[in-house]
Subunit: 388 residues, 2 copies
């Protein structure tokens, strides 16, 4: 190890001094990230979860790696290559970017994902339990892109639809449907890309742990042109509930071999999507029978007491009604999420407990408000639904 | 116009002098590109086909726009924003990148495409005939991602499959299949992304100009591990023909409602894909009846005379055989392609003419070795196949 570090020190004789010292004992077992572009050596990840990036920028004065809200200075070697590492990151998927003399840009070595309001770089720190979302030798479903024109928002929209293994071949079989939503500053691509919803379900179905199901992933941002105009700089009134209930659900039931009733429809979402889908299901209990809220509830944000009599128009005020209509209420949080998520979800849980309404709570170990929390949440939730 | 140019001159009081003068008469009608990331103002395109980019890089010494093989210097304004324009570009789609103090990176304003051997920025110069590949109010097919394990290359691979409008609903109908290949340094994503194969077919089918068909877009790079090892630094022997014929075609016929015979299978490709698919069809005339070679033929590269007696093992030596087996031979080139493509394709055409073998040649006006040539070629070719 010492030998390799010394060799590296010899190579990195740039104009800047070293941030890294041997005392920090960085483990030199970096491997190319599993989400690199084909043939790209960098970015790399080591067993501590550090991210090492490298970029050629011979004329640059300052290059940084921007990940997890921290900017790490890179060092330039004599070939004009900038290289450097982050502190250890949590297991799972993270958005990141490079900063070159003040310009924030994607890393040309990584694949790109939509999150944080942009198409940009992502990196995967292999998780100890990654096996559940890995590409394995099991039958695989398909993910299809479906384009539709929304009469409500007057725009072309699209969703991605996971059809389980055997969907195309077994033409008599009909399936239940999970409507699965992304979070804020994300879009309809997230769940089947960085979320691995398709692989999670392929693996669960192969093990007989989840019912074969269709998953519909639409875009939670949906605004009428007149509402956009009215709002100006403010957040416009969302029409996503209308788009989902009046346009998407009928289209899906018309196009795919679904079982078109509430006992065979589930809905779930992460963060903003958890909040949206909680409102949607409580307003549409004739449509859905299973709710999943990953890292969020509709009382976000805050620790204010949730009053069952008034919250969502009293939707939770009668425990018997709720339990008759909702077969599953699933909530989850990562143990490292910011306080506001704990406060929000706990205030909602307190209300449920006071109302004596059953729910299932899942806690994702050592993860924050990021995709590993949500992959794990889907893995848990998918095993609970359509089991009647 | 003069007024706006003067205003711009006032704004761009950077440390560098102006490359643009009023004499060049740049038309100031720039609009955000149609392939920008949501909410991004730049890059922009004007009616001359110039590309204007902007990026914040307050500490950078030199920022360039790299498009069409030319690097254009940008100018910095007092806010640290670099801005500048390219010369007029050809109509259609182009890959490009930014260069910041020597670092080649994607433009954070554009969407990303796989081409030139990387995921990177792309821009669209609206074509005068763009209507044929636009998203219109017609029934839309779906594009699905299908994952499979290749026993030949011992790796997970995938293809994208376009199923025409009505495929999911009309469960008794069976369809012909077009196998459609990308070019070198591109991959299986190209045709349904920057190629717009799905929209081209949606529009043609809506007008009754093409038969409803399935399109399969796989990855033309396919190597056995042992061939990769043997090749070292050289190009390994390709196993794409084996993968396509022995694995992909049977899978597609097993999974989708195809008409599994040669009269209902077509094959086409662009550039490298044109060359590959020409070899494949001539080796497998029991599988396919229609060939399309866009900007390429299997004698690439060069102007050497093509000898019908020896070329592709004499596959074109008997005109009667060829015409009995091949219902369509379609070739195309853009009028602005590099000489090598003209020489190659013309040498092949000379051979066909000498052999008295019928073929159809399409010339794409004012386009180079780029996607508008190939979109137009598909538009032409799709109208010729499955018409018997």
């Amino acid at each position: 190890m010492k030998h390799r570090l010394l060799l590296m020190a010899f190579l990195f004789t740039g104009v800047f001094c070293f941030a890294q010292t041997e005392d920090e004992k960085m483990v030199e077992d970096f491997e190319p990230s599993v989400v690199n572009q084909p043939g790209k050596e960098f970015p790399k990840v080591n067993s501590e979860g550090r991210v090492r990036v490298q970029i050629e920028a011979p004329e640059a004065k300052k290059v940084q790696l921007d990940i997890g809200g921290v900017k790490y200075d890179l060092e330039k070697n004599e070939k004009g290559m900038w290289i450097g590492e982050s502190a250890p990151q949590d297991e799972g998927f993270h958005y990141y970017q490079l900063n070159i003399d003040g310009a924030s840009v994607p890393d040309p070595g990584s694949k790109y994902y939509y999150g944080a309001g942009r198409w940009g770089s992502g990196i995967e720190i292999p998780a100890s339990d990654k096996e559940f979302y890995e590409l394995k030798d099991v039958p695989h479903g398909s993910v299809s892109e479906n384009i539709y024109f929304s009469e409500i928002t007057r725009e072309w929209r699209r969703n991605f639809v996971f059809t389980p293994p055997g969907y195309f071949e077994n033409m008599d079989k009909r399936y239940p449907v999970l409507y699965l939503q992304h979070g804020s500053y994300e879009d309809e691509t997230g769940w089947s890309s960085q979320g691995h919803a398709n692989l999670i379900l392929d693996n669960l179905i192969a093990e007989g742990k989840a019912e074969p199901m269709i998953i519909v992933m639409d875009n939670g941002y949906a605004y009428k042109p007149e509402d956009l105009e009215k709002a100006g700089e403010n957040r416009p009134r969302s029409s996503f509930e209308d788009v989902l209930i009046k346009e998407v659900v009928p289209q899906i039931d018309g196009k795919f071999r679904t079982i078109p009733n509430r006992e065979h429809r589930a809905i779930a979402g992460l963060s903003m999507g958890a909040s949206q889908t909680m409102s949607i299901i409580m307003n549409n209990l004739d449509h859905f029978a299973y709710y999943g809220g990953f890292s969020g509830t509709a009382n976000f944000p805050g620790d204010k007491k949730v009053d069952a009599g008034t919250f969502l128009n009293g939707a939770f005020s009668n425990a018997k009604d709720v339990e008759e209509k909702l077969d599953v209420i699933f909530l989850s949080l990562g143990t490292k999420e910011a306080e506001v998520f704990f406060k929000t979800v706990n205030a909602f849980r307190d209300m449920l407990e006071k109302q004596d309404i059953d729910y299932i709570f899942y806690s994702s170990p050592e993860t924050g408000h990021e995709w590993l929390t949500w992959r794990r949440s889907l893995y848990q939730y998918a095993q609970l639904i359509f089991k009647k």
